[in-house]
Symmetry: C2
Subunit: 204 residues, 2 copies
DNA sequence: TGTTTGTTTAACAGCGTTGTTAAACCCTAG
DNA sequence: CTAGGGTTTAACAACGCTGTTAAACAAACA
């Protein structure tokens, strides 16, 4: 009987698409209702305000993006393998959520109140990753496996390389014509390139 | 007598600040007028519409960002030096225009019509850089100075590394407390890290 | 059966923003 | 001195979007 989703969830799903696509400012509640195949009065019946609905979507997405960083750490294995695996996992996550990074940062930049609310969600995640990396790096440096590097910079390196290609894709993809299959190939190359670049940076 | 700028330019300057800060959707013409120290009727007297005013600002900024890529090429000198100099120059440009990349991409993503209009401005610049890089790389590979790399990927590598730190700064800077002097130091480190990472990737 | 819950319809109030207009004003170049 | 362009004031029309409301309706359920 509960085969079809509840209406509330249907609206949330529609909202997610709309918000990720246009951002809070340009998204319209009427459009979300339409996309959900539902009357726009009903949307307000469930969520009362646009802000309300947005927050529900946004918090979920912030959590997802935070967790995506955790995969960079990976499980216990030789350091270089862990880094490689971490970069690839992180890349794959962004690849299946290509609009996520730009969306999150855009909303946080444009609305200080939201940023304030999210601090406590983001800070501990960053701290945890930083510490884990620091330990792994220190150990591997002592073993002479890698060059020394500030964990903060390593994080920036990985995130930079993995995120930018997807943020720029909507623009670059229009400027440089590329077919679907070609783009898939390009992404595969890009993933390899990112891994290789970071590993080169680490190799003694 | 022409010591003070013309009103039109004053409005443009105010608009630039406002648009870069909030983006087209959230910027208010009244706010721009106020910031320009000018009546809001006068703004419309000069530019008629918000869209009009925005386009004037936007085209200028797209040109600036495009040109910033050109510095990556640099002048004639040993390849590794050229790359190093290029990365540093590009980094410095973004450092003094930290909001520019996010602004441009955000507007292009959110408004397909604008993207369409900008294609002819962007495409030739990219093509030119691509070709110059391709030649430089081919030559240096033959000389055994660097490993082979697709010019496209090298471009992505450099831009990724240089841009992300500034895009993320408004958020990360809130999450991780950092004083002014410390931030300046961090940027210096970051620039060195970016150069080192790219050069490591290229070294045989 | 009647009650409740979810849903639609349709109309509308309120708000903020953009863009317009008319009138008066001020400065300065001719 | 005066004519014209730049500028202000103040008011307002128009628009689109958010959020509300009342009434009717459908379906599940007691």
């Amino acid at each position: 009987m509960k085969e079809e989703q509840k209406t509330e969830q249907i609206i949330l799903d529609a909202a997610e698409i709309e918000f990720l696509d246009k951002g809070f400012a340009l998204a319209k509640t009427t459009e979300i209702a339409a996309r959900a195949g539902v009357n726009h009065a009903l949307l307000h019946y469930y969520f009362r305000t646009k802000e309300n609905l947005f927050e529900k979507v946004f918090e979920l997405k912030v959590r997802e993006l935070s967790e995506s960083l955790q995969v960079i750490i990976g499980k216990d294995s030789p350091f270089m393998d862990r880094v490689k695996g971490g970069i690839e996992a992180h890349f794959d996550f962004i690849a299946s959520n290509p609009k996520l990074p730009h969306f999150i940062f855009n909303e946080l930049i444009q609305n200080p109140r939201r940023l304030e609310k999210c601090k406590p969600m983001i800070a501990p995640v960053l701290a945890a990753i930083y510490n884990t990396m620091k330990i792994g790096i220190a150990k591997s440096v002592k073993e002479g496996i890698i060059r020394d590097i500030d964990p903060m910079h390593l994080m920036y390196d990985i995130v930079s390389m993995n995120v930018v290609v997807f943020v720029m894709q909507p623009v670059i993809g229009e400027v440089i014509e590329v077919e679907g299959k070609q783009y898939a190939d390009f992404l595969k190359q890009r993933k390899a390139e990112n891994v290789e670049t970071i590993l080169s940076r680490l190799r003694v």
